[in-house]
């Protein structure tokens, strides 16, 4: 297929391959394509094995990339259809596509500015603020979402190991000696340094199972607002499988980011195996560092199809790693709520906060709560008994 004596053809084949990768979801910048051609030059392109490895070490940058690369490689270089993709096509019973593409939605565009209209909007929002998200029409929900996107949820900073110059604090030997040198060896004054403050990471685990359908998209909106406020925020969805949607939520435009995230999640409105998914999160990400010292926000109603004991074990593990664990349960806002679901009962001993997530007001409270979380060592006293 590729011969070394026809280098032009090889370039065309590889560029075509890169384009195909792009279509399949692995975007490859030209510099990497160039690196692959260089690698092929070193290996010689007589065997498919050489082509495979030349591409894999230059075009991929994570295990997920390799998965995609393997599929596309098989399809492109053998002409046969790719091996059956494991993604099961779940028919979305509920797909929050009702997210407005444009904040100034048509229909209410022009006359929004006139004073009576604005008053009407203000009072409508007051009413909406406390209504349960499950009972809202698509238009009302879009309005609530605009307010959620305007929130700036962030947790208190943490103290870094890195130092920076400051007027008071510990003596900085480097700068002090440098100052002495500058003054011809006379000890003039002591320079000082202080530890820098850094963002503390927030990790969202959003339940996207059927029972959470009316609330999951709002929770993702909130997570997107957090991503925009603080880089380094991580977002995962849990249902029947764990999906990392951090990358999809990076854009500034909430609607575009949410559509991208929803496209990446394949288990909307399926069942929940919270314990298994939490274990997967902790194994693949949490224990290695993502959850360490972080504030973890779990958005779920605690309907657990699997064994609640497993969920309890994994929650204990999470609580040991994380700085604080906040559980957002939409049913918490209802009157007479008791944490009666099996999952909720298993998780309760390991939580720092159990809060509501059923209305705009609840999310505003959550944003305020996060602002005060992780500051002091509140966990030992603060955890529910």
């Amino acid at each position: 297929m590729i011969t070394t004596d026809a280098p032009r053809d090889a370039v065309e084949v590889i560029v075509g391959f890169a384009r195909r990768l792009g279509q399949d979801g692995l975007a490859v910048p030209p510099t990497r394509v160039h690196a692959m051609l260089e690698a092929l030059g070193e290996l010689g392109a007589e065997s498919l094995g050489a082509v495979y490895w030349a591409g894999r070490v230059t075009l991929c940058a994570s295990p997920e990339d390799i998965e995609c690369y393997d599929r596309t490689f098989a399809a492109y270089f053998s002409g046969r259809p790719p091996p059956a993709v494991r993604r099961t096509a779940v028919t979305p019973i509920y797909r929050p596509g009702a997210v407005p593409a444009d904040p100034a939605a048509p229909g209410q565009g022009d006359d929004v500015d006139s004073p009576p209209q604005r008053l009407a909007t203000a009072s409508r929002i007051e009413v909406l603020r406390h209504r349960d998200l499950a009972g809202l029409t698509a238009d009302e929900k879009a309005e609530v979402h605009r307010f959620i996107s305007a929130l700036t949820p962030a947790v208190a900073d943490r103290v870094s190991r890195r130092m920076h110059a400051a007027p008071s604090g510990r003596v900085d030997p480097h700068r002090t000696v440098r100052a002495i040198l500058r003054h011809g060896g006379e000890p003039v004054d002591l320079r000082r340094q202080r530890p820098l403050r850094r963002y503390r990471r927030v990790v969202f685990l959003v339940d996207v199972s059927g029972s959470m359908a009316p609330y999951a998209d709002t929770m993702l909106r909130f997570a997107h607002a957090a991503c925009r406020t603080r880089p380094g925020t991580e977002v995962f969805t849990v249902g029947t499988r764990l999906t990392r949607v951090t990358r999809q939520l990076q854009g500034r435009d909430p609607s575009a980011a949410l559509s991208a995230a929803m496209a990446a999640v394949t288990d909307w409105s399926g069942g929940t195996r919270l314990g298994d998914e939490l274990a997967a999160f902790l194994d693949q990400w949490g224990q290695r560092g993502t959850a360490r010292g972080a504030v973890v926000v779990i958005g779920s109603d605690g309907w657990e199809r699997g064994d609640p004991t497993l969920l309890g074990e994994q929650m204990a593990r999470l609580a040991r790693l994380a700085r604080a664990v906040v559980w957002v349960n939409p049913h918490r806002g209802r009157e007479g709520f008791v944490p009666s679901t099996g999952g909720m009962r298993a998780a309760l001993p390991h939580l720092d906060h159990l809060v509501a997530g059923h209305s705009l007001a609840a999310y505003e409270e959550l944003a305020g709560l996060l602002g005060g979380t992780g500051q002091a060592r509140e966990r030992h006293g603060g955890r529910h008994a």
């Binding site: 070193e42 011809g184 060896g185």
Partner: protein, 300 residues
């Protein structure tokens, strides 16, 4: 931009694999190809994988193969230029200044020139690697460092030069062979990955694990190596908090071999689990059904 690569006289991935084998490191096709390309293309090799699959030992073996010193930079949060690139030896500079004054030297220009002499410069790992030819530079666990560190690492690895304002630019005659490892506790910046060749190191297959154990512990019985590799594979499938890596199974085999064992039985396994499992919860779980670990034959 960079000069010719230092590759010894290695002509193909197969040859590199054979030479790594001589150095006690068994590399499969993918890893040998990735390492070979890193040598030939003068690019850093970014190796990711679970803890204990042999990322660090790859750098050590490459150093043996290339007969070059291994220079290691262990990353941690807050690692900065003074710890990774270079630093001035301030106390000695002050002493020098005092001595010059005491000796009555009045030529200010000369003192100043002497103060920033090369002998007062402390070379940290990155500078050391540029100045040592040939050398293997291991940037270990880069995911533990922070963004600022990645930024200047990127600068050094892009053109293998370091600029020191008082002295000038120091350029590597021959770029060092660079291995960057990550346990993937966080996503390393794309710009850094783009500079590197990427290789994902998975847990070894049963056959390779047996081969590696026997390679690292030549005195061990064939049966024991088989048993340990099989048990390690079962432990990896058992959903533990910390599944054992290749490093742990080598440790375990070494521990068993130190006890004079020639095969694994339930009693020996439970006494030596501390070599392979590092969480109390894991140990308790495995002890409940330790017999399953040591059933020989069947699927590993």
């Amino acid at each position: 931009m960079v000069d010719t690569a230092y590759t010894g006289d290695i002509a193909s991935p197969e040859e590199l694999a054979a030479r790594l084998d001589e150095a006690g490191y068994l590399a499969d096709d993918g890893l040998a190809t990735a390492a070979f390309l890193a040598l030939r293309m003068c690019r850093p090799l970014f190796v990711e994988g679970a803890a204990g699959v042999g990322k660090t030992s790859l750098a050590q073996a490459l150093a043996v193969v290339l007969d070059a010193p291994l220079i290691r930079l262990q990353c941690y949060e807050g690692v900065d230029a003074a710890q990774a690139l270079y630093d001035w030896d301030f106390p000695r500079q002050v002493l020098h200044l005092r001595a010059a004054e005491a000796a009555g030297v009045t030529d200010v220009g000369r003192i100043e020139h002497e103060l920033y002499d090369r002998r007062f410069l402390l070379a940290r790992p990155l500078l050391q690697a540029l100045e040592t030819t040939p050398s293997v530079l291991l940037v270990d666990e880069v995911d533990r460092a922070d963004d600022e560190f990645e930024a200047f690492l990127l600068e050094v690895l892009s053109d293998f030069t370091i600029s020191i304002p008082e002295i000038g630019t120091i350029r590597a005659e021959t770029p060092p062979t660079v291995i960057v490892t990550s346990n993937r506790t966080r996503e390393v910046h794309d710009a850094l990955k783009r500079r590197c060749l990427y290789h994902w190191l998975a847990h070894p297959t049963f056959e390779r694990e047996v081969a590696v154990i026997r390679r690292r512990l030549p005195g061990i019985s064939e049966r024991l190596a088989d048993d340990v590799a099989r048990a390690a594979h079962r432990l990896r499938d058992a959903g533990l908090l910390k599944p054992p890596g290749l490093a742990e199974s080598i440790d375990w085999a070494a521990a068993l071999s130190a006890l004079g064992a020639t095969e694994l039985d339930a009693d020996l396994a439970s006494r030596t689990l501390g070599a392979v499992l590092k969480y109390q919860e894991d140990t308790e779980r495995v002890l409940e059904s330790v017999g399953d670990l040591v059933i020989s034959g069947g699927q590993p």
